[in-house]
Amino acid sequence: MTTLNIENVSKKYGTLETVKGVSLSLQAGERVALLGHNGAGKTTLMRMILGLTPITSGRIEVLGTEAGSRRARSAIGFLPESVAFHGALSGREQLQHFARLKSVSMKRADDLLDRVGLSDAADRKIRTYSKGMRQRIGLAQALLGQPKLALLDEPTSGLDPISRHEFYDIVADLANSGSAVLLSSHALTELEARTDRIAIMSKGNLLADSSLSELRHSAQLPIQVHVTTSEADADRIAAELGGARVNGRSITLTCQQNDKIAMLGQIASLGAVIKDVDVMPASLEDLYRHYSISKEGA
């Protein structure tokens, strides 16, 4: 069964339409990144999946039940964008409270504190926590009861690089055990190897929804090739390959995906004057910029 099914969903606040006819579906075990600027409609979409915000038109189903219903909510783990807790409670007390609401054992809640690396600080008041620690409590509560669908809104904001790494490990575990994960972000680089599919939203529209390689393919963005050579040969080789000299010994070339092998062959044939070659496919940033600029006008 489809874990999450969004069909032609729109949201209007008066005349302002923040989500425009978005359709998206997630299967069990899939990790999907929802990308977009602030105000693109990512958070509104998540709030509609949770039933916090009424849907203007369209339909959202979680495991075949209407979004916002008790059954749908018990299948979802949610980490809000700026997660907040009552400062007078300790991390353990707060998590145990949420565990009771989800009928999860206290033992399991304590295990999750370990899993997110908070067991040492668990009995301190949340008001003494750093933003990263609050984010970990937020993640722990989203993991309670092994949700069938995890909605993570800007989950890595406030986390340092090592914590981010640990965070994506946890997300991978979650997906491997059969949960569908929808996470929104504008930290693009970290998502590249961490998600199965990428959905791009801009001004309420869903502009793209496929895997990173498919997105690259359909965007037809040029590949950049950096060639390093000796200072004496740089100008000559730049002219020969048709590239631009960047600094003393580097040349940048661009080509389409289909021409890549031919281009590399040409470079290799130059022999010893080439010191090094770097091939850089279009980054997620480039893709994101491509999709959000080219389709916005349409």
Binding site: L50, L52, R71, F78, H86, A88, L89, H97, L101, K102
Partner: protein
């Protein structure tokens, strides 16, 4: 069960925020002072010393219990909405009614505990001063039960305000105004109308019902014993007869239910 989980958490928060301690100290302090001071002027005049204490404490409770009730409740929804904790709670599989009832149970327990401590001290002090044999505890028990109803009514009103406004600052302002109106201005207004009417139809027909419609006044009337001591509490008491004990009881019981019902309606409309 979700209601119990919410109530448990709210009790913990109330303890941490010193709300329990504050309420108990307030109630304890005032009841002890009134019990000790109340006995002094009557001496051995033959009036039941507990009745004297109950009368003084009633007058005080009319002010204090609504205030504690409103202070416990005004932050319940608006505060959570403002801090951003409400949205997350609402994504859990429980209804808004359960959240509201859970909070109400916790705050009601705090209030009941504070009142029980206060009235318990009164009982102990009176027994210690006089002897238990001559005392009638019925007025004290009636005061306890009606205090709970009065507190519950103002808890409900507090939740209603808290659901209707977005900021706690605004909510606190509004509940203070409501408190002032219910315990002071309402009576003043009625007195003014009485004087203006000068014993006409308003005084005889409408006034008793208007009086009992205010839970604070219903509470006052039901706990003021007829006769000697009550004359201290202004002439309003005499008019209470028209609506009768039944009217007062109905008012005190309906207010919590109606207030909580409207709070629930308002809370259902809150979009965090």
């Amino acid at each position: 069960m979700s209601i119990i989980a919410i109530a448990k958490l709210e009790l913990l928060i109330a303890r941490r925020n010193m709300w329990v301690a504050t309420s108990v100290i307030l109630m304890g302090l005032f009841t002890v002072v009134l019990t000790l001071a109340g006995g002094a002027p009557t001496g051995s005049l033959g009036i039941d010393p507990l009745t004297v204490a109950v009368t003084s404490i009633t007058t005080l409770s009319v002010y204090l219990i609504p205030l504690i009730g409103l202070l416990l409740s005004f932050d319940a929804i608006a505060g959570e909405s403002e801090r951003g904790t409400l949205a997350l709670s609402l994504t859990y599989p429980l209804s808004r009614g359960e959240i509201l009832i859970g909070k109400f149970l916790a705050h009601f327990c705090v209030l009941a505990f504070a009142i029980a401590v206060g009235l318990g001290l009164t009982a102990v002090l009176t027994i210690w001063q006089y002897s238990a044999a001559d005392l009638s505890f019925a007025p004290l028990i009636k005061l306890f039960v009606t205090s709970l109803a009065l507190g519950a009514a103002f808890l409900g009103i507090g939740y209603l305000v808290s659901s209707l406004v977005r900021q706690t600052g605004v909510a606190s302002g509004i509940v203070i105004i409501i408190w002032l109106v219910c315990v002071v201005l309402y009576d003043l207004g009625l007195l003014g109308a009485l004087v203006a009417d000068n014993g006409g139809t308003f005084t005889k027909t409408i006034f008793p019902w208007l009086l009992v419609a205010n839970p604070a006044d219903a509470f006052r009337l039901i706990n003021m014993p007829d006769g000697s001591v009550s004359e201290l509490a202004s002439g309003i008491n005499a008019a209470g007869g028209a609506s009768g004990t039944l009217g007062q009881l109905v008012s005190l019981l309906l207010w919590p239910i109606i207030a909580l019902f409207f709070a629930w309606i308002a809370f259902r409309k809150v979009e965090p």
